[in-house]
């Protein structure tokens, strides 16, 4: 009997080990294929440039690498990087703070929401990029015009996701809190805002690329520094390698910021998503 169940236990462990090994092997296969795809594209890009297409128009991995190596040792590059970073950070922060604040306010203040809703929808329908020239007239070619452009893009996304998030909180849960004696502030801070957190965080994630788009477009149009300015310089002088190098810098920067937000998301709301993977044993 005992040896029988011991055998059965061993079999269960062996099965679990086998499944873990399969999972690992599968993940390794995914990674290796991804790496292969990247190498394949790079090789095609490099070799194709000698026979299929003209590297003058399409650049080449070697050329891009050369520009990157050069720029990474250039003080001016870091200045451009930090200018874009500051513009984006301030635009994103300003837009997010105003969007969340006003979204939350309008969620509580029904009259204001009903009055302004059509105007917000109308304003949000303006292609913000077309606003850029006006913003540059108003705020100059310095950092502020880019910050404002970036903030207008982020603002509406955050405004609408905060408003919808708070409105999506189950009315029955709000009623339960009311019956328990919660006042308006407590309902807002302990029920509606935490209930909307998932919406707010996903709004923050979605609006991140828009913060960069606003800044880069602004820098394209009129600027004397920034990554967008640098990219524009390269592309207008037909330096395709330089253009690709800047795109890669932006891509890596955005991926790093995205990873940062994912981390914050996991800390803020993932707690219960993460917790549900290690559920305690049922004993009822």
């Amino acid at each position: 009997m005992t040896s029988q169940s011991q055998k059965s236990m061993d079999a269960a462990y062996a099965e679990a080990r086998l499944m873990a090994r399969r999972r690992l092997r599968y993940q390794a296969a995914v990674r290796i294929t991804q790496l292969g795809a990247v190498i394949g594209v790079l090789v095609f890009w490099q070799l194709g440039g000698t026979v299929l297409f003209d590297p003058f128009f399409f650049g080449s991995p070697k050329g891009v690498a050369a520009v990157l190596m050069h720029d990474l040792q250039d003080v001016q590059f870091y200045r451009d990087l930090s200018v874009t970073g500051i513009e984006m950070g301030l635009g994103y922060g300003l837009g997010a703070a105003l969007g969340i604040g006003l979204g939350a306010l309008f969620a509580r203040w029904r009259f204001a929401a009903d009055v302004f809703d059509p105007f917000f929808v109308a304003l949000n329908s303006i292609p913000r990029i077309a606003l850029a020239p006006l913003l540059i007239i108003w705020f100059g070619i310095d950092l502020s015009s880019k910050i404002v452009l970036s903030a207008t893009l982020v603002f509406f996304l955050m405004f609408f996701s905060t408003l919808s998030g708070i409105r999506a909180v189950d009315a029955a849960i709000v009623d339960v809190a009311r019956v328990m004696g919660a006042n308006a502030w407590q309902i807002f801070f302990k029920v509606q805002l935490p209930g909307a957190l998932a919406w707010i965080v996903s709004g923050l994630r979605l609006s991140l690329p828009f913060a960069l788009i606003g800044v880069i477009v602004g820098e394209f149009l009129a600027a004397s520094s920034g990554l967008g300015y640098r990219l524009n310089m390269y592309s207008t002088s037909y330096n395709t390698n330089g253009t690709f190098a800047m795109l890669i810098v932006m891509m890596i920067g955005m991926m790093a910021l995205n990873a940062l937000i994912s981390l914050a998301e996991a800390r803020a709301i993932g707690r219960h998503a993460v917790a549900s993977r290690s559920r305690p044993e049922q004993h009822t």
Binding site: V176, M180, G181, R279
Partner: protein
């Protein structure tokens, strides 16, 4: 403890007046367990929404401990049919929520929540989130979340309705033992006549829409009751048959 005094509720829908509740009067003594039974969808929940203070009556008044009810109050707790736990809070923080809003310290509310959680057999799940709990476990949490702040009267709106038959009986038994411990006043709504007789000191039978009090019966069963076995009791059967005859008439007359 609770007086429902000639309460009516009428709604206007498409320019016609619909009466949901008509002249309901009921006195509930302190520590009494009263069950309201009536056909499904016939204004039972509207009565509780009025008694809880969430909805004003069109006519009549509610008195809680002699005071007229104006709006929601901590004196009246409400256990809803759905657990309505906050999905972003752990079990212990859901149960402790009513104490949190009245400013009880974290240590104290955790101590009291933990005690109740243990009492209903959820010990070990304090840090679990609602989506990790079964329907029955969530409903236990819903009940003790209302008991923790000790309202004078607790209203229950078919709290065991969505549960499977076995879980339901286990929770009925649990509720009776919680009630025996706390001697709280309970008004319990159900459409299940077994449940109404099994739990209540008195059973109030309501008519189909508009809801009126059709009859009130004293339940001649002694306490403590065995909810698992009492259905075989002769007194239970007799009361069941009497009430069922009346309820059947109401059910057939109620088209929703």
């Amino acid at each position: 403890m609770l007086r429902i005094n000639d309460v009516s509720k009428r709604f206007v829908a498409r320019d016609t007046v619909v009466t949901a509740i008509e002249g309901v009067t009921l006195n509930v003594a302190a520590g009494e367990f009263v069950t309201l039974v009536g056909p499904s969808g016939c204004g039972k929940s509207t009565i509780l929404n009025i008694v809880s203070g969430l909805m004003p009556p069109t006519e009549g008044e509610i008195l809680v401990d002699g005071k007229a009810l104006r709006s929601v109050t901590r004196d009246v707790g409400y256990v809803t049919q759905q657990p309505n736990l906050m999905p972003w809070r752990t079990l212990i923080d859901n149960v402790g929520f009513p104490l949190e809003i009245s400013g009880v310290s974290r240590a104290e509310r955790h101590r009291r929540a933990r005690e109740l959680i243990g009492l209903v057999g959820l010990g070990g799940f304090e840090d679990a989130y609602p989506d990790e709990l079964s329907g029955g476990m969530r409903q236990r949490a819903n009940i003790i979340r209302t008991m923790i702040y000790e309202p004078k009267v607790i209203l229950m709106d078919e709290p065991f309705g969505p549960l499977d038959a076995q879980t339901r009986v286990v929770l009925q038994d649990l509720l009776l033992s919680l009630w025996a411990r706390t001697k709280i006043t309970i008004v319990f709504i159900t459409h299940d006549l077994h449940e109404a007789i099994g739990l209540g000191d008195r059973v109030v039978l309501l008519t189909a829409r508009p809801a009126r009090v059709a009859r009130i019966e004293q339940v001649p069963l002694s306490r403590p009751r065995n909810v698992f076995k009492m259905h075989d009791d002769a007194a239970f059967r007799q009361l069941y048959d009497v009430l069922w005859l009346e309820l059947e008439r109401q059910v057939k007359g109620c088209d929703d």
